[in-house]
């Protein structure tokens, strides 16, 4: 009754469709370059770790991962910290311009990064943040803060209003109530929102590439620049790609039970 006939087949085919290109990338990353260009093999016949070794020993490669993680973590912290009080306000109160403000936030989530690339470049150069993780972290706030507000608002609305009222009657001050009572109650929501901030900051390339040059260059930019400059080193490119998938795969595991609800922005 719940699902459709032949669902196992449909699901199986779809999962294969999803996994096949990823398998091919992993497969490539363990092959030597001569094997890649000379023959078509479904699995590596002479498996090698040389590409991974190169990435982990060459600073210009592994520093990219550190840079990326740096701005992603910064951005996640900023986004959640500013979004929490706002989510509470949107969930509990009406105030002048609340609906317009909410729409304005939403519209920023949808704004194309390409529009902001150039003005961000000017702005962050002018205030001396260009080529630092802070520039990228702040730039990514434009789509992550609205998203975090959106998700958290859904979760805060799930907390009964009586809890606030009881806490205030018990003499809790607002900040104390917020930290001691509300935050633990929506801990899973904060986890989901953090996951989404992490995800969207991690996958974005255009802004991250535009706002960095040498010091804070993210791994994604290193992949596009270095590889095209040195000719096509397919094995190395594949290995770098595989390594960018791993952090995502790790965090999915932790939020697997909340993924669906989170993607619905806490609004199911």
């Amino acid at each position: 009754m719940h699902s459709i006939p032949g669902r196992r087949l449909v699901m199986g085919l779809f999962l294969i469709f999803l996994l096949l290109p990823i398998y091919w990338l992993v497969n490539m990353s363990f092959k030597t370059n001569s094997e890649i260009v000379s023959t078509m093999t479904l699995w590596p016949h002479t498996p090698t770790l040389q590409h991974y070794k190169r990435i982990f020993t060459d600073e210009s490669w592994y520093s990219g991962y550190i840079n990326s993680l740096e701005y992603v973590v910064l951005n996640t912290i900023i986004s959640i910290a500013v979004a929490l009080p706002a989510a509470y306000a949107f969930s509990r109160y009406r105030f002048l311009g609340d609906k317009h403000l909410f729409f304005w936030l939403l519209s920023n989530r949808m704004a194309p990064a390409a529009v902001y690339a150039l003005p961000f470049f000017n702005l962050y150069s002018a205030i001396g943040l260009f080529d630092t993780p802070w520039a990228v972290a702040l730039a990514h706030c434009i789509f992550n803060v609205p998203l975090a507000v959106w998700i958290l608002e859904g979760f805060v609305s799930g907390v009964p209003r009586e809890i606030d009222e009881t806490a205030f009657l018990d003499g809790y001050s607002f900040p104390r109530f917020f930290i001691k009572i509300l935050v633990p109650l929506i801990a899973s929501g904060i986890g989901v929102a953090a996951f989404f901030c992490f995800m969207f900051s991690w996958v974005e390339l255009l802004l991250a590439r535009t706002l960095t040059s040498v010091q804070a260059k993210p791994i994604a930019a290193i992949m596009t620049r270095t590889v095209s400059a040195a000719g096509m080193d397919w094995g190395l490119l594949a290995a770098a790609g595989v390594l960018t998938i791993i952090p995502g795969a790790l965090v999915i595991w932790f939020v697997r039970n909340y993924i669906a609800r989170g993607f619905a922005l806490g609004r199911v």
Binding site: L118, P119, V145, M199, L205, A260
Partner: protein, 324 residues
């Protein structure tokens, strides 16, 4: 659950307002400024009024021609991927296993493409589709198709579309799955007692329950495909020729490639305006749907105070549709 009016709530919203204003309003002002000026280099600017906008909307000029062509391509692309991803996402959500460890496994695999950096998505399909080293390209060519996304327009389009379906169908599926999960078991039992067919259950129970999440899915997919940049840029670079040059790619070419600030700024504003309008339409529809649902829910509660009866017929399910 009426919200109380409290203007002090603005203090709670202030940090968000400042952060987003800093990264949205300030840069946008620069864009407006540039869009009215022309430069011949050396940081010397000349007033150009609405000149760029006139050129932009006139297909006979170079700028206008490029903009409108890329806009057309982009709209076509968005429509195609919506037409594929939404039905496919619903089917996949309906195919989800019901319980056990397979649920978690399916969820994790489904979410995997969403967490791959967009340029790596491009790289994956670049490698997968190449006729010399990619499985897909190799197999297609071995099967007699002359497939090469680097030189053939149609092949490039097919590759970009299949890549997007691969990348984002999971989002639609996960959203629909979340909607399906919120349907109480009692609805299905009632439908079974009424002898409803599979199709009737889908039409009368599952689809209405997925309405809201589907709206979010369509909104997100439309917006994100409308500003797609990285994936096609990595795979095709906008080519062959200009055949997969979408609006964002065109914009970055003008802004960061040619450093043509005035033209790029004018394009940005028009682009942003389109997004804003579409966004507003969706937002209105979405909030209205929410209000209707609340009204409906409260009236249901009022008429039937005991929702516990498992045998309660589903209000939305009309018997004449249900009998198969």
């Amino acid at each position: 659950m009426d919200k109380t009016v409290n203007q002090k709530a603005w203090f709670l919203v202030l940090p968000v307002f400042l952060v987003v204003a800093f990264s949205a309003v300030l840069p946008l002002m620069t864009v407006v400024n540039y869009s009215m000026q022309d430069t011949f280099g050396n940081n010397q600017f000349f007033w150009n009024g609405v000149g760029w906008f006139k050129e932009l909307l006139d297909p006979s000029t170079d700028l206008g021609g490029r903009f409108l062509a890329s806009l057309g391509r982009n709209l076509f692309f968005s429509l195609v991927i919506l037409a594929i991803e939404v039905p496919l996402g619903i089917v996949v959500a309906l195919s989800m296993p019901r319980e056990g460890w397979t649920v978690a496994a399916c969820l994790v695999i489904l979410a995997l493409p969403l967490l791959i950096p967009w340029n790596v998505v491009g790289t994956i399909w670049q490698i997968f589709g190449r006729p010399d080293i990619g499985l897909l390209g190799y197999v297609l060519n071995a099967a007699g198709f002359d497939y090469n996304y680097v030189s053939n327009d149609i092949d490039a389009w097919v590759t970009v579309i299949v890549m997007d379906v691969w990348h984002w169908t999971s989002l639609v599926a996960l959203l629909c799955y979340a909607g399906l999960k919120s349907i109480p078991e009692a609805y299905y039992q009632a439908a079974q007692i009424d002898g409803a067919s599979r199709w009737a259950v889908f039409k009368a129970i599952q689809l209405p329950k997925m309405n809201r999440v589907l709206l979010i899915a369509v909104l997100l997919r439309f917006m994100d495909s409308f500003m797609i940049y990285t994936e096609p840029f990595v795979v095709t670079g906008g080519g062959p020729g200009n055949s997969t040059t979408f609006v964002s790619i065109e914009l970055v070419k003008i802004a960061l490639g040619q450093f043509d600030l005035g033209k790029a700024a004018a394009l940005s504003l028009v682009y942003n305006l389109i997004i804003l309008i579409v966004c507003w339409i969706f937002y209105t529809v979405m909030t209205n749907a929410g209000v209707e649902r609340k009204v409906q829910a409260s009236s249901e509660e009022a008429t039937e105070p005991k929702p516990s009866a498992a045998l309660k017929p589903v209000p939305a399910l009309k018997p004449k549709e249900g009998v198969a």
